[in-house]
Symmetry: C2
Amino acid sequence: MDAYHELETTFRRHSALRAAASMLQWDNSTMMPENSGDARGEQLAALSEVSHEMITHPKLADLFAKAESQISTLDDWQQANLREMKRAWHHQTAVPAELVSALTKACHESELFWRKARKENNFKAFLPYQEKVLSLVRESAEAKAAAMNLSPYDALLDQYDPGTTSVAIDTIFDDLAIFLPDFISKVIDKQSKEPAPLELHGPFPAATQKALGKTMMQKLGFDFTRGRLDESAHPFCGGVPGDVRLTTRYNEEDFLSGFFGVMHETGHALYEMGLPAKWRNQPVGEARGMAFHESQSLLSEMQLSISLDFLEYATPLMREAFGQTLNISGAEWSSENIYKTMTRVQPSLIRVDADEATYPAHVILRYRLEKQMIAGTLAVKDLPDAWRSGMQQLLGITPDSDSNGCMQDVHWPDGAFGYFPTYTLGAMIAAQLMDSIKNSIPDLGAQIRKGNFQQLSEWLGKNIHSQGSRFSSPDLLKHATGKNLDSAVYKKHLKNRYLA
Amino acid sequence: MDAYHELETTFRRHSALRAAASMLQWDNSTMMPENSGDARGEQLAALSEVSHEMITHPKLADLFAKAESQISTLDDWQQANLREMKRAWHHQTAVPAELVSALTKACHESELFWRKARKENNFKAFLPYQEKVLSLVRESAEAKAAAMNLSPYDALLDQYDPGTTSVAIDTIFDDLAIFLPDFISKVIDKQSKEPAPLELHGPFPAATQKALGKTMMQKLGFDFTRGRLDESAHPFCGGVPGDVRLTTRYNEEDFLSGFFGVMHETGHALYEMGLPAKWRNQPVGEARGMAFHESQSLLSEMQLSISLDFLEYATPLMREAFGQTLNISGAEWSSENIYKTMTRVQPSLIRVDADEATYPAHVILRYRLEKQMIAGTLAVKDLPDAWRSGMQQLLGITPDSDSNGCMQDVHWPDGAFGYFPTYTLGAMIAAQLMDSIKNSIPDLGAQIRKGNFQQLSEWLGKNIHSQGSRFSSPDLLKHATGKNLDSAVYKKHLKNRYLA
C-alpha cells in the first residue's frame, strides 16, 4: 500500500473510533442512567487514548513525508485529504504529551472550580485557576504555531476555523464594532415607537411541540431514517454524519425558543447529513470547522426561519398544532407578531440570551480580550476591568457582577481560546450565503411561503455540505458566493431586517 | 511496572473498548435509525480490530511467561485474573488470523442463507453452507484444543462455560435423557386429568405492563440509577456491569410471557450489577460464563417467579395494575391459575417455545448431535434423519419439516457450537442454587410471599455475583452449594413441581 493510502487507513480507523465516542457522548446526555458515569468515563478514556496513540504513532511522520513527495499522483480530493490529515496530525503531535496532559488536568480543575466561583461571584478565588489554564494554553499555542507556521492565536483559531486569520477577523470585527453601537441605538429607538409584540400564552404540551418540531425538521430535509430527535438538558446536534442525533428541550410555558432552537440544530444536522458519503471517516469528509457549522445553523434559524416568508408558511402549522388545546384566534398568533417577537432588540449582559443584533458585540468583546490574553498584553487579573469597559463601549451597559460579566462563559475556564469568533463569523457567512442564494433563486421567497425548501437545500448541499473540508474556510466561502467574507453584506442584512 | 500489572493495563483498556461496543450494540437494537447500520458497522469493526490487535500483540506471550514465573507474588484474585487473561488470550490467538476471518465470513454468509432456506424448508440448498461452517469450526476447535490442552469440543465449550467438560455433561445429560421421557408422560397424564388453566383476556396496555415490570425489577434489586429498561424486537440484557441495558417487548394480547420474560432478563441484570466493582474491566471481574448467567435468569424466572409463593405476592399487584381497565374478578386472575398456566407441559417441536419440563430434551438432542458433528462422526447431510430419530426418542414427536427441525436455531448456521448445553446446565445450576438457598434461609417462602427478596439477593450476591470469574464454573457451584452439579437435585425440583 502506498504512503497516502496507508494514512487513509489509519485515519479511517481513527475517525470510526471518534464516531463511536460521539455516539456514547450522545447517550451520556440523553439515555445514560445517572450513576453510570464512571463506566462511561472508562469507555471514553480508552477510546481517546487509543485514537490518540494511533495518530501520534512515530511512523506517521515518515508516511506524511512520503505521501507529500508523491502528491502529484493524487487527485484534488486526495490532496485536500492529505492536507487535512496533516493538519489534524499537527494539532495532535505539536504539543508535548506532558503539556497536553497538564492542560487537560488544569482545564478540568478550572471548569469545576469555575462553576462554584461563578455562583459565588468570586473572580479573585477563580483567578489562579484561569491564570494556570491561560499559561498552559499559551504554551500549547506557541508549540502549534511553530509546527504550523502560524501566529499563536491563529494556531488556536485553526482548530475551529481552518484558514481564517486574526488579521482578517480584525478588519471585519473592527468594522462591525464601529457600525454596531449606532445601529443598535437606532433599532431600539425605532422599536420603542412601535407597539410591543404580543405574548403567546401556553401551556404548550411537550408532545405537540415535539410533533411540530419533527414535521418541520422533515420538511427541511432531516432524514429520520438516519437520525433522531431526543431531549437533553442542553440542546445539541450530536452523533455522526450517517446517524445524526439531534436534541432539544421542551418548556411548556415558552414554545418559540424551543421551536427556533430546533430550527437552529436542524441546520447543523443537515450539514452533517449532507457531507460527502464517499469521504466519510476521512478528515476531508468532515464539516469545514465551527464557523461554517454555525453558518448552517444560523442560516436555518436566523435567515430562513425568522423571516416573514417562512412564518407565513409555518404559523398556520403552529396554530393547527396548538389549536387542539389553546385558543389561537388572537392577534398574538399572527406570523407578523411572531416575527416581531423574534426580532426584538435589547442590549443585555448575557451572550447566550442575546438577540441577533447585539450578539456580535458580545463576540467582538471576547475576541479582542482573548487575543490580548494569548499575546500576553492582558493579564487575567485585569480581565474584569477590561470586560466592563469593553461592554460599555460596545453595548453601553456595565455588568453588575463578574458572574454576569467575564465569568459567564465556560470557554475560557475550559481552555477554549480561539472559539468565540466563530459565532459571529458564522452569522456573517450565513448572511452572505443567503444573499447569494437569493440571487440564484429569484423566487425563493415564494417557494418558502409555500413550504418548498428543495431548491434552497440543493444549493446548500451542492455548494457547502457536499464540499466537506475540501477547501479552507475562506476558500469555501469564495467558491460558494464568489467573494471573500464581506461585512457589508451582513450589515445590509441587519439594516434590512431592523431599520427598513 | 511488573508483567502482571502490564497485562492488567492492556486488559483494562481492552475491556473498556468492548464495553463501548456493547453500549453501541444496545443502541443498535433499541435506538438506532433504520438506515444508520453502515456507520455503526464501521464503528464496531474499528473497535473489534483495535481490541483484537491489543490482545494478539506479540509482547503478550512474553508478559504471560514473566507473570506466571512471578505467580507467588500475586494474591488469589490476581492469580485468578492471570488465569482468565490467559484463557481470553488463548481464545483470541490460538486460531490463525486467516482461519478466523474465513470462519467469520462463512458464518455471515451461512446465517444470511439460512434465513432464506429455513423459510423455504430447503435443507439441501443450505447443506453446503453448514458444511463449510462446520469444517472451519472443527479446524478452529482443533487449534484451540492444541493450545489449551483440551479436546476439540471442550475447547469450544470453554468459550461459554469454562471448566465444564463434555465427559461431565455426558453423565448428567445421559441420566436426564433416561429420566425425561417417562417423567414427561406422567406429567401429561396427571395434567390431562385436571381442569385446564383459564386464559387471561386483555388487552393489556403496554404502559401498564412497563410500569409493572419496572416495579418488579426494582423490588428484585435492579438499580435504575445504573440501568434502564427499553424495548427491542428480541429481549436481551445488554450494556455493561455499571450500566445495564435490559430490553423487553410488549404484546398487548399476552401479558404473562412478557412479565416472566422481564423476570428472566432481570436475573441476568442482577448478575451483571453484582459483579465485583473492584475488578471491573478485568477478565476475573466478568460473569462466569453462559451456564451461570442462564442460571441467574432461570433462578429469577423459573425458581422464584414461577412459584406459588411469589405469585401470592405478585398476583395482587397484577390485578391492581390491570384492574384499571379490565375486569379482574374472575378465577383466571388467581395466583393458582397463573401458576398452572405457567407450568403446563406439552412436547413441542420448537425449543424457544418449549416449557420447563420438555426444554432439556431439546437441549440434550442438540448437544449430542453437535458433539458428533465436531467429532466427525455425524455428517451434516445426515443431520435431518438424526434429528428426527432423536426427537422421537426424547420427546416422542417427529418434526413435519426441517424448518421445524434441525434448521430452527441460528446457533449452528452462525458457528456457535458448544453453546446449547449451557441452557440446561443453567437450569440445573438454578435448581441446585435454590435448593441450597432454601436450606440456608428456612423461611424463604414466607419472605417471598411478603415481597421481601433481600436475603435471597444477599445470598446470590455473596455466593455468585461478587465472585466474578474467580473460580471455574464447577468450582463456583461447589463453593456456593457444597457439591458438584447433581442431576438428582434438578430431577427433585421437576418431580416436586409437576408430579407432587
